[in-house]
């Protein structure tokens, strides 16, 4: 090993704490890049492969009852390669050992065991062929402890049937399975059930007909044209409007997750890389300044400028190598944690959650390059030093009087305070970047704290203010309003309110959106709609209320007229006035008054869902009664919904908050510790002079601690702004048709973030401060600068 390399290793050894502080920040960037990008790639690729292999459809449509012969025409739509029809419906399930009713989405299984599209992957058993046989999703079977051959009961259109499980399967259609009205997947209470076609036709009165169709398209097909043609064909049969994968529940959730990962991979790592590049630059500049005489000597000995620059770049590279190693280790653990979380929510057939090797290489290279870029200026500085000049002591840094000085004099600041302030002004870029780095730490705490506040707000709005019913009882199809009286007579039911859902397309000029309109009685108390003012509002007759995101997408304002094409009832198109906007974070809601709608449909009052308040003591009796009530398709218990939502959220929030607080502390320590170390090194003589002049350790420490803490204080407003901006960016990136996250910025979150960062800054600078105690006054004063 050459002497200069030995110097390199010794230098690194001497600097290892500083190097580690930087490496850890870099490691955060590498780990997040590795995880987010790796998971993004894995999820995208696996989904792609799964969809391709199992022929996941591209266009879907529901109808009331379309004849099988229509399939010939559907297949002939230009751009369609294959089409498959099926019968589907919802059923109330009675599972052994479970008091609460469960819900099943029933799908027909083709006679020849040869589904064309959305082909399930059998995990065990044989497909159902005879009456009373079913195949269920693996997650549903596992959650309920079912084995092949187990039996459960279902209320199929009013008929109680015993069903035997012959197989379990996964399906590309149900990577993410969520029941109607649910906020989180509940594999125990909701499952997908395939039943032989003939059975389904009989149960749902669909002999020779279908109510769901899926299409796959050619590569050059125009999906919009296909959807339009399909709508035209299905229209006479109660078609509810064709939709693409973007509105297919499972794919929409997987896509939302993939988008989030991409957002994370693009936004977060660059911040860490930038901070570590800045830190490396700062530390390397200082080392070059300290090594001045050595650089002069090396040059005098005949080392070239390139060799010397390389020497310093290699020192930075050692830091990068340490950071990348830590980042890979951390990223691998993080990716594993994320994979296990995905395994809980997503049902993929293959073990996909492995970060590809090239992502390791890419993240390592990115970290190495940014670190080297950070060190480049210092390396060039070393190269440019002329040997004769280098061996001379450097000129003292130049300070000049500025306007700020006059102010400082006017307010009679102490000299030690002036030293602090002048040094900030003298190196404005360094000060600004340090403050920015500490601000980034504050911002990262705010960005995580904000999520918690936002979710609290969502839960409050959803469960305390909007969905106040204990349960929703869903009818298989619209029933006369008189059915409410029957519901009121069910055990434990204390209050009942009617509700209807209608699929419709809303149009404002060229903008249109296919959604489900919620129709509700005036003054409903159980399920309320909260207006922009924060108070419950009711849609007036002739008017429609829209969620703000829906209004935004349709570019429609309050008072304007919207064209509403109903897919239900008489399938008419009406013009409704936008009567108000609704604050809402789940789905894209639209609301109409029930009496007005029935008049519009020219029919007697109907109900599709009954919202009920239930006496908790009588819940088991209610469940027992519902399992035998005909015409029901399901029951959604809001409390369970809320509990599972809160549980999932609180688990995640604790993890996320801990991770972000840890990251913030790492950034703070990286920035504050290195800043203080450099200050300490630059100021050693100055601080020793002060000690000799009779200043106490405490007074001298004030200069060191003062500068760091002043920067940390300046960083706080910067961090608040940055945090608010990141929070805003997160709300935007998380917003999809499925859900939105409100921008809730609580003063307490800001205070907490600042507390974390200021404490970590103080702790870092106090570690450096100990050096003041150990300072050898004589030695410092004796040596030349």
């Amino acid at each position: 090993m050459q002497a200069i390399d030995i110097k390199l290793l010794r230098d690194f050894q001497r600097l290892w704490v500083q190097g580690l502080a930087i490496a850890v920040v870099l490691a955060c960037g590498v780990a997040i890049l590795l995880t987010a990008f790796g998971m993004h790639t894995a999820l995208t690729d696996t989904r792609e492969a799964y969809y391709e292999r199992n022929r996941f459809a591209e266009v879907f449509a529901d109808a009331r009852r379309a004849p099988d012969r229509l399939m010939t025409e559907i297949t002939e739509i230009p751009g369609v390669t294959s089409a498959e029809a099926r019968v589907q419906g919802f059923a109330v399930l009675d599972l052994p050992g479970r008091t609460e009713v469960a819900m099943g989405q029933m799908l027909s299984w083709p006679r020849a065991d040869d589904p064309l599209l959305n082909v399930p992957i059998l995990r065990g058993g044989v497909p159902p062929g005879r009456a009373g046989e079913v195949m269920v999703t693996t997650a549903f079977a596992e959650a309920n402890g079912f084995e092949i051959g187990d039996v459960f009961h279902a209320n199929l259109n009013g008929q109680r049937r015993a069903l035997t499980i012959t197989a379990t399967a996964l399906s590309p259609e149900f990577i993410y399975t969520i029941g109607p009205g649910a906020l989180m997947p509940d594999n125990e209470g909701f499952g997908i059930i395939w039943m032989p076609e003939a059975e389904m036709e009989a149960a749902f009165d669909m002999a020779g007909a279908f109510n769901h169709v899926a299409l796959r398209l050619t590569a050059d097909a125009a999906p919009e044209d296909v959807k339009e043609a399909l709508d035209l064909l299905l229209d006479p049969y109660g078609g509810q409007g064709a939709y693409g994968r973007d509105q297919q529940m499972s794919d929409a959730f997987v896509s939302a997750e993939i988008d989030q990962l991409r957002g994370m991979a693009v936004v977060v790592p660059p911040i860490f890389f930038a901070i570590s590049a800045f830190l490396v630059g700062m530390v390397m500049s200082r080392i070059v300044a300290l090594d001045r005489a050595e650089i002069g000597l090396l040059k005098a000995l005949g080392y070239s400028d390139v060799e010397i620059s390389l020497h310093y770049l290699l020192l930075a590279a050692l830091i990068a190598v340490l950071g990348v190693t830590l980042g890979w280790a951390g990223g691998t653990i993080l990716a594993r944690g994320m994979a296990s979380q995905y395994a809980e929510f997503f049902d993929f057939p293959y073990l996909i959650f492995r970060v590809p090797l090239w992502v390791y290489a890419m993240s390592g290279l990115a970290a190495l390059i940014t670190t080297m870029a950070g060190a480049l200026r210092a390396a060039l500085m070393a190269a440019r030093l002329a040997p004769a000049v280098a061996m001379q002591p450097p000129a003292p840094p130049v300070f000049r009087k500025t306007l700020a000085d006059r102010v400082m004099t006017a307010i009679r600041l102490k000299q030690t305070s002036i030293m602090v302030l002048r040094s900030l002004i003298r190196w404005p870029i360094r000060s600004a970047l340090t403050a920015l780095g500490l601000g980034a730490a504050t911002a990262s705490v705010i960005a995580s704290g904000f999520m918690f506040d936002a979710l609290t707000r969502i839960i409050d709005l959803a469960f305390n203010q909007s969905f106040r019913q204990d349960a929703m009882i869903m009818f298989a199809e619209d029933v006369p309003e008189t059915a409410l009286a029957d519901v009121a007579n069910l055990p434990g039911v204390m209050q009942v309110e009617a509700m209807q859902f209608h699929a419709a397309t809303l149009r404002n000029g060229p903008r249109e959106k296919r959604i489900s309109i919620e129709v509700r009685p005036d003054g409903a108390e159980l399920s309320r709609v909260i207006g922009a003012s924060g108070l419950p509002i009711d849609p007036p007759p002739g008017g429609i209320l829209l969620s703000d995101r829906l209004a935004e997408q349709l570019e429609v304002a309050v008072g304007e007229v919207l064209e509403v094409e109903f897919m239900t009832g008489r399938r008419e198109t009406h013009e409704l006035v936008v009567a108000g906007l609704v604050e809402q974070y789940f789905g894209l809601g639209a609301y109409v008054e029930i009496g007005y709608l029935d008049r519009l449909f020219r029919r007697s009052p109907q109900v599709s869902v009954a919202n009920v308040l239930v006496d908790p003591a009588q819940l088991p009796a209610l469940h027992a009664a519902l399992q035998d009530t005909p015409m029901l398709s399901g029951l959604i218990e809001m409390n369970e919904n809320r509990a599972s939502f809160e549980e999932t959220i609180s688990e995640n929030v604790v993890v996320v908050n801990t991770v972000y607080a840890a990251i913030a502390i790492l950034i703070t320590v990286g920035v504050a510790y290195n800043g203080a170390r450099i200050q300490m090194s630059e100021r050693a003589r100055e601080l020793a002079s002060l000690r000799i002049l009779g200043f106490t350790r405490g007074e001298v420490s004030q200069v060191l601690v003062g500068e760091t803490m002043l920067l940390a204080l300046i960083a706080q407003p910067v961090g608040w702004l940055l945090g608010a901006w990141i929070a805003h960016a997160l709300t935007t990136s998380f917003t999809s048709d499925l859900y939105a996250i409100p921008l809730v910025l609580e003063p307490a979150s800001f205070a907490w973030a600042s507390l974390v960062v200021l404490t970590a800054s103080f702790a870092s600078v106090m570690i450096v401060r100990r050096r003041i105690d150990r300072m050898d006054l004589v030695a410092v004063m004796k040596t030349r600068e």
Partner: protein, 235 residues
């Protein structure tokens, strides 16, 4: 009989570097008197700086005792030594050790802000002939000027003793003479007990007493019958 300002008894200092023990001072007995300007002379490593550091409260002796007037410095803790330096001692070093981010006036104010009975910063700078340089930063001044600021800073607290370690070591002879003039004026006008370390033998001529050091001991002490003014000295 002149007042004794510093008194040492058998003062020794051993630097223990693990394998070798370096005897920087070996049993020094010395008295320095009020108002005296003494020059400590000797080659590098002869122990004069070590003595100065102990007298100035920057270092502790390994054995022996040392007093400043009635105050025994020998076993004082860090806090008390800081107090002692702050109240009684002015230092001047070869490398001026000014704070680069403070102007001349502010460097002096560093001291006047904390000393119990300081002169005004402007007055201290006037004494060293820098009235016209009050608001200049160290980087804007010559070496001689910087050293004069350092002296002004040292005397501004009106210290009883002024300890100078190679004050002209980094200066050319013309500038060095100007600095020595300032030291002499202060000694004459304020009666500040002044100790100057040098290995420049020419400077001995301006002292009341010259203490010669060799191998950590006092080799000889000579008194000047007639003193030369700094401008009469050359090297």
């Amino acid at each position: 009989m002149p007042q004794i300002v510093f008194r040492t008894e058998g003062l020794s200092k051993v630097y223990d570097t693990g394998e070798i023990k370096v005897h920087a001072l070996s049993g020094v007995n010395l008295e320095l008197y009020a108002g005296e300007l003494s020059v400590l002379l000797g080659p590098s490593g002869s122990g004069k700086s070590t003595l100065l550091n102990i007298l100035g409260g920057l270092d502790h002796a390994s054995s022996g005792r040392v007093w400043f007037r009635d105050l025994e410095l020998t076993d004082l803790g860090d806090r008390a030594l800081t107090r002692y330096r702050r109240d009684h001692v002015g230092f001047v070093f070869q490398f001026y050790n000014l704070v680069p981010s403070l102007s001349a006036r502010e460097n002096v104010q560093l001291v006047t802000d904390v000393a119990p009975n300081p002169m005004r910063a402007e007055e201290a700078l006037e004494r060293v002939g820098l009235t016209h340089r009050l608001d200049h930063f160290p980087a804007e001044m010559s070496g001689g000027e910087q050293q004069r600021v350092a002296i002004a800073r040292a005397i501004a607290k009106q210290p009883e003793v002024l300890l100078c370690d190679e004050p002209t070591g980094a200066l050319d002879s013309k500038t060095g003479v100007a600095v020595l003039e300032v030291l002499k004026e202060i000694n004459d006008d304020l009666g500040t007990t002044t100790v100057v370390i040098t290995h420049n033998a020419g400077i001995r001529a301006m002292a009341h007493r010259v203490i010669n050091f060799a191998d950590g001991r006092i080799a000889s002490v000579e008194e000047n019958e007639t003193r030369l003014a700094p401008h009469e000295i050359s090297w």
